[in-house]
Amino acid sequence: MLELDQLQLQMLKEVADLHGTPEGAYNIRSDSRSLGRRSTANIDIVPKTDVSGLDITIKPFTKNESLHIPVIVTKSGLKETVYNDFHVGEGAKVLIVAGCGIDNCGNQDSQHDGIHRFFVGKNASVKYVEKHYGSGSGSGKRILNPVTEVYMEEGSSMEMEMVQIKGVDDTERTTLAELKADAKLVVRERLMTHENQRAVSVYDVKLNGTHSSADVVSRSVAKDRSFQKFDAKIEGNAECSGHTECDSIIMDEGKILAVPGLAANDVDAMLVHEAAIGKIAGEQIIKLMTLGLTEQQAEEQIINGFLR
């Protein structure tokens, strides 16, 4: 049983919906050291020897198992880069939860950069959940710059849920994916920035195999003076289908830049980009006010629903 303090428990709840030691395989990292680790018969977690990070191997045809690798940073001024490689065997079906929370009560910047590489085997299926969370009253920034690389074999599928709702001052998220035939990538990103926060999200997806597909959808809210950039590029190099969507609400003095990028390099590539940015529609607020909500409660309700 792990010994976790109140702050660690709170952070684990925020980033990984955990209320203590998770089921299945896990590694909990806190301030650059492992608080606990468990491999299972089918999921092997081995620390890297050259750099900080883990080599995780999931045996072929592993079914319905989960892996939790949450990261917590509570020391002000701590800066780390962590390299995790995930080798998902043929036909495996797994859930991977990899959140990161930074609590910074000091005046120095804290930063965690997680470099994740996924090698998804033939016909394997991965659901990946990554939540980012920041807290603490210090003037030091909370910075997260994740890089996720996904290499998908034939017939594999990956669903990525990326969530960053509050508290992270600066983030640059880069997601690169290469898909072989019949591989399917689904990304659902939800993002809310406030105060002077800045969030950049870059996707570069290469649909290399016949009948591969990608669906990258971002829903975001930019409040106060925050800035967001959504830069999604899909490259169709075969008969494939790709869709990117940026659906955003701006409030106060928030700014959002959506940069669509579609590259069709095959006559049978079908690629679509959609982007809609605007403030909350006045009629939505009025409708909720006719149900008895105040203007502020109506706004909160609309945003909570939008980012659900």
């Binding site: 829903r219 659906d247 529609a281 009629e283 939505q284 009025i286 409708k287 909720l288 006010m289 006719t290 149900l291 008895g292 909500l293 105040t294 203007e295 309700q301 609309i302 909570n304 629903g305 939008f306 980012l307 659900r308």
Partner: protein, 248 residues
Amino acid sequence: MLEIKDLSFKVDTETGEKKILDKIDLAVPDNKLVVVTGPNGGGKSTLAKLIAGILTPTSGKILFDGQDITEKTVTERANSGIAFAFQQPVRFKGIQVIDLIRLATGKKLSAADACEYLSAVGLCARNYIDREVDASLSGGELKRIEIASVIARSGKLSIFDEPEAGIDLWSFQHLIKVFRKMRSNIKDSSILIISHQERILEIADEIIVLKDGNIAAHGPKDEILPTLMGTPAMISACRSGDEGGYQC
């Protein structure tokens, strides 16, 4: 009881000031279903929005149960018992039908309880309760959910702005049943419907005809409806349509 006194609403246009409503006086008593009808552009929807507080009058007063609510916000009027169904219901990304019903009742309803409101408007509740109130719903579905949200308010005054607009015939026929049921359960409350539809006029206790921003007629249904329909034979024809789906 709703009382409107000397109510005017004007807008500025390129050609000068335009009167949408001109010194209107009317009352909607408790236990009555009142239908406001009249030609397009006559000021009907404006009147409904002024009562709900969505628009602000140029002059005049609105009293609700004796209280002057002219300066009250939309929220304050909603909390004092005024419910409003939009002519074009609003869509929301991410907000589910059950959320809307819960907000309308102001209670943490169980799914089963929320379903009752949907069943009341003829929607198969389990197919809708988790649906988002977004573009995936048809106009008819959205309209019925809008009406369910107003029924869920259990308002002292329920206002429906052209409930028939944008819905299919089947939904419309069901809508008449919904209003009949509301009428039978009206105890100590009142219903105000803006409508062009003869079949809705038929279930009214009183009819108000609004034309060019003025009240052209106001009285019991049996007195006003014949004058609208022209001849008794026409009324008879329309009534027979009640059973057969014929619409005037």
